[in-house]
């Protein structure tokens, strides 16, 4: 097999995310699930917040898809992206099924008005979504690196841990069944970085984008943990640069 130009970069980005993967705000939720179990309210809030994020991937990937042109990448890159879109849609369906089956909402339409499931612009969820959507203006390889070698690695770790910690069979089933797909997204990210990120400028951009995506994902996870555990919302770290205009 030929040498892949981005192999070292992919390994570096993945290893950095792996090192942080079991130190996210979700650890409090995992501990709660393992020690006391998640009660009905906590489960409702957890699934609701996760569904609210998953459904927003239609919006994020819609923006990313518009940035793809004919012949800009080989078909394999576009195939992997479309597979990821389908998988994300499946995860949205899994959470919706759970909300309905557990009786947290009466029907699909009710989810949009439900406090646990609803989308608010003034939230860390929105901050993360807009942060990912903003990557639409960057090359596809950069944004796939940002998501799949950043938040996806964190997500895989807490999903596996929470599936192991909870004794709710439906919650466990929903998480466990996603693991293969999440692992494949990480592998997709690795493959795309290995094959297509070869220039130093792109490597630098990938470092920056992964860092931003992980920071904003952890901000979203902090909000999820606070809501699930019924704590006051943690104020986000203020931006380092004040924008004046």
């Amino acid at each position: 097999m030929r040498d892949l130009p981005g192999k070292a970069l992919a390994q570096e980005l993945a290893a950095a995310s792996q090192a942080e993967a079991r130190a996210t705000p979700m650890e409090d939720v995992i501990a709660k699930a393992a020690n006391d179990g998640l009660d009905t309210t906590a489960t409702h809030r957890l699934v609701g917040r996760l569904w609210a994020l998953e459904r927003m991937f239609y919006y994020i990937y819609g923006g990313w898809g518009q940035g793809l042109e004919m012949n800009d990448f080989p078909p394999s890159v576009k195939y992997l992206f479309s597979k990821q879109i389908v998988d994300e849609s499946t995860h949205e369906m899994l959470y919706m099924d759970l909300l309905l089956k557990k009786g947290f909402i009466a029907n699909q339409k009710a989810a949009f008005a439900d406090p646990a499931c609803g989308f608010r612009v003034n939230s860390s969820l929105a901050y993360y979504i807009f942060s990912l959507r903003n990557l639409a203006t960057y090359p596809h390889t950069i944004r796939i690196a940002a998501l799949n070698l950043g938040p996806k690695i964190l997500e895989l770790a807490w999903t596996e841990a929470l599936a192991a910690a909870t004794d709710d069979p439906e919650l466990k089933g929903a998480f466990e069944s996603q693991i293969v797909e999440n692992r494949s997204h990480v592998n997709m990210g690795r493959r795309i970085v290995e094959e297509f990120i070869s220039k130093p400028v792109d490597a630098e951009l990938a470092h920056w984008a992964v860092g931003i995506a992980k920071r904003d994902y952890c901000r979203y996870l902090q909000e999820v943990a606070d809501i699930v555990l019924d704590r006051p919302l943690t104020a986000p770290t203020p931006p380092r640069v004040r924008v004046l205009d």
Binding site: L94, M96, D97, Q108, G173, S177, I179, V180
Partner: protein, 81 residues
């Protein structure tokens, strides 16, 4: 009672979409790595509702459990339900 024949189903998920839209919520995603579509016999109102059959594009992919009969494309009586 209906079930999905996974040998023929293409997983296009039209049945899931229409079942959700009608608020019957009998079609769901199975908790297994392939995430195949299944039909909950308790929630499904067939033969009262036949919407999934009307939208299913893959011949033979939804069958009656009791008779083993394929109901895609929908038989005449499905249109009269």
């Amino acid at each position: 009672m209906l079930k999905v024949d996974h040998q023929r189903c293409t997983e296009c998920r039209m049945c899931y979409i229409v079942c959700r839209e009608l608020d019957i919520n009998a079609v769901y995603v199975a908790h297994e790595p392939l995430h195949r579509i299944e039909i909950d016999p308790v929630a499904c109102t067939y033969p009262g509702c036949t919407a999934c059959l009307m939208y299913c594009p893959a011949a033979g992919s939804i069958v009656e459990v009791e008779t083993g009969r394929s109901v895609v494309p929908p038989p005449l009586e499905a249109w009269q339900a």
